[in-house]
């Protein structure tokens, strides 16, 4: 198979999802841990402010992945989003509530008001974190796609043991990742508490990941289908997760721990896409009905135009996003005088 634009766009979309999970992963974790970690209103505000300048930009990775799928693989976009109708709807509801909650919660002082939005942040982080795991597990397992590229799986088909395990594993990994992130971004007692949470969460995350990884060999065509040979990637992924765990338990090298978990998430996403390749959606009804990077794609002309645009602008976007992380590299203190609302 020679390298062509279809492969380039498959890789680009994988990169967009990797960017989304690596960045929004800790945002979800922060949202999940908000009610546990923040004991006072001020503490909760400080926790939110660790991702305050970034969460919206992080979320755009998902919107861009959606747009890129539409542009490069219209059939993938159409089949995926009409097929995963209700899960995607719940993801949207979660993201809507969460985004508004970040902006609205501190703009009125009532206790009731803030409690409501804090709930919103928690639920709005839980729903997408869980459902993305469910959706990707189903993608690699295969769904009921008919000869007309329409997905006929019901909601209950999508909620199988394997996919739920994927969802739970994702939630736990994001929560651990978020705890490590918070231990890097907060100070004093909050920092200590965040590190403590990471210690308690990591074993659950590790067990869930290993179970899910094992189940993947049984539930997908990983062993028989030759797409991209993942080589040592799955083992590197597990190794980084375990080394991160060692660091977490010893309370050392938080920066490295964060990087290792980011790598775990990136590697797992890459692994998922590798499993699919060169398919983009696997039909459980008939392998011939699967969507591939060729039968689902746009015309060569459109792919060329989009390639030029992407190669010009992706580096610029990555550049200024990195710059804003640099600007806000300082830790956030739970003191009224430093907090932006």
């Amino acid at each position: 198979m020679t390298f062509d634009l279809n492969i380039l766009w498959f890789i680009l979309i994988a990169v967009l999802y990797i960017g989304f999970f690596v960045l929004e992963g800790f945002d979800f974790g922060v949202g999940l841990l908000l009610p546990v970690l923040g004991r006072t209103d001020l503490e909760r505000r400080a926790i939110i402010n660790t991702i305050g300048p970034h969460w919206d930009g992080n979320e755009v990775w998902l919107l861009t992945a959606g747009g890129a799928t539409f542009a490069a693989f219209p059939h993938w976009y159409a089949t995926l989003f009409s097929g995963f109708y209700l899960p995607l709807f719940l993801v949207l509801v979660g993201l809507i509530i969460r985004g508004v909650a970040f902006e609205f919660r501190s703009k009125s002082p009532g206790a009731q008001w803030r409690r409501l939005w804090d709930w919103g942040i928690f639920v709005g982080s839980l729903l997408p974190a869980l459902l993305f795991g469910v959706a990707f597990a189903n993608l690699t397992r295969g769904v009921a796609i008919d000869a007309d590229m329409n997905m006929r799986s019901s909601l209950f088909d999508l909620l199988n043991l394997y996919s739920l395990l994927g969802g739970v594993a994702g939630v736990l990994l994001f929560a651990t990742y978020g705890a490590v992130f918070l231990s890097l971004k907060l100070t004093g007692e909050l920092e200590t508490r965040a590190a403590g949470l990471a210690r308690r969460l990591w074993p659950f995350a590790a067990v869930a990941q290993i179970l899910f990884f094992g189940a993947s060999y049984l539930e997908t065509d990983l062993l028989t289908h030759i797409g991209i040979n993942p080589g040592p990637l799955p083992f590197a992924m597990l190794a980084t997760l375990l080394v991160a765990g060692l660091f977490i338990l010893r309370g050392r090298n938080r920066g490295w721990t964060f990087a290792l978990l980011a790598f775990t998430i990136a590697a797992q996403t890459a692994f998922t896409f590798g499993l699919l390749f060169p398919r983009v959606m696997i039909s459980s009804l008939d392998p011939a009905y699967s969507l591939t990077i060729y039968n689902a794609s746009s015309s060569p002309y459109t792919l060329t135009v989009m390639s030029v645009v992407a190669l010009l602008f992706v580096p610029i976007v990555v550049g200024y996003q990195i710059w804003t992380y640099w600007v806000f590299r300082k830790r956030v203190e739970a003191k009224p005088e430093g907090l932006v609302y």
Binding site: P53, T64, A72, Y77
Partner: protein, 464 residues
Amino acid sequence: MDPTLLAQWQFGITTVYHYFFVPLTIGLTTMTALMQTLWFLNGQDVYKQMTKFWGKLMLINFAMGVVTGIVQEFQFGMNWSEYSRFVGDIFGAPLAIEALLAFFMESTFLGLWLFGWDRVSKRAHLASIWLVAIGSLLSSVWILIANAFMQNPVGYELRNGRAEMTDFLALLFNPSVQVAFPHVIGGAFTTAGFFVMGISAWHLLRKSHVDLFKRSFQLGAIVGLIAIGLTVLNGHEQARHMIASQPMKMAAAEGLYVTEDPASFSVLTIGDFEGNEVFSFRIPTLLSLLSYNQLTGVVRGMDDLQVEYEARFGPGDYRPPAFVVYWSFRAMVGSGFAMLGLAVVALVISLGDLTEKAGRWLALYPLAILLPYVANSTGWLMTEVGRSPWVVHGLMKIEDAVSPNVSGEAVLFTTIVFTLLYGALMAADLYLLRRFAATPELAFGPLDAHAAPDLPAPSLVGTD
């Protein structure tokens, strides 16, 4: 349950709702950037206060625009998968480019602006608000390029059972974009101008923060007048384009059933919208004049177009729901001209002392905030409903565009949840806008919101 009808309702509800926030985001971000530029240049405190005050309202509104925009990115695939397959080769490109060029820029630099007051240099901070404003403008360009293909398809060929792009530049320079973009941007700045004038007038009537709101009102009047003037002028260009590209929409907007030459302009027509007029007041030849800039010219009526379209596209009803299109058009044009008048008055009284005699006029402006919202919503209603039965004019009908694998029940369920959720969020949004609009001190910084009490932890999952 008919999934097509339900999906149309869902698209209508979510899109009109999204568009409550978008024009104000575009216009008010730019106006906030202007205010901050004034502060940057002359250092007067009042401009800093203006930046903080209007910036806060902009942020509240911005959040709603962002989250409702997420739905827009995905609902084509969810409810309109056949549409997505048919036009994805063309329509997906501007959407992806919009995300890559505009959404990243808006969201990243808005974060930098909001949290960066003391973290980056004044210059970089000012640049960041301008980048947000430019991002929101870019976003509107790309989404209009996508929409223009539905109104006036260009730069494509029908291949492999779908529309495939053959000329990217033709897509970018679609004549429909060239008339729609100035109109939409004009509408956005009009919205911001009237929003600023309305809230400023409310404060001036109460003699609160007179200096701040006088300057704000003046700026609102200047921006509002320029914007509404250009929007009205451009509306004329748009009508001329529409006559050529979508004559059926124009005929419906005018309640014109029979072809006329010279064509009369309907000021008010009451009928059963089956072609039987009960009452009609029309100005002779005006429609021809508006359409062609001359006293004669054929403007075709719906009945004749129907016959023509049946011959071209086969049997079917090619007439849009004239009732909606006709009244939307009138509501848009009517509020447009009302705003033009109000903007002129605003500029005149701005020259005098706004808290004295001329200030009696001020009482009009808080209510006038609604006018741009009426015009924005009805303008899009007319544009989108007026295109039916087509989803892509002349190429694909709405009934062929929906997802075949999504049940009516599913669409009904999501529509109900979206509507309830959006209703609740609107209540929260209006509550916050009112709170911050009425009490400017909340937004002045640097100790802005620290009066917030330290609340006990919510026991969500059993803290401690």
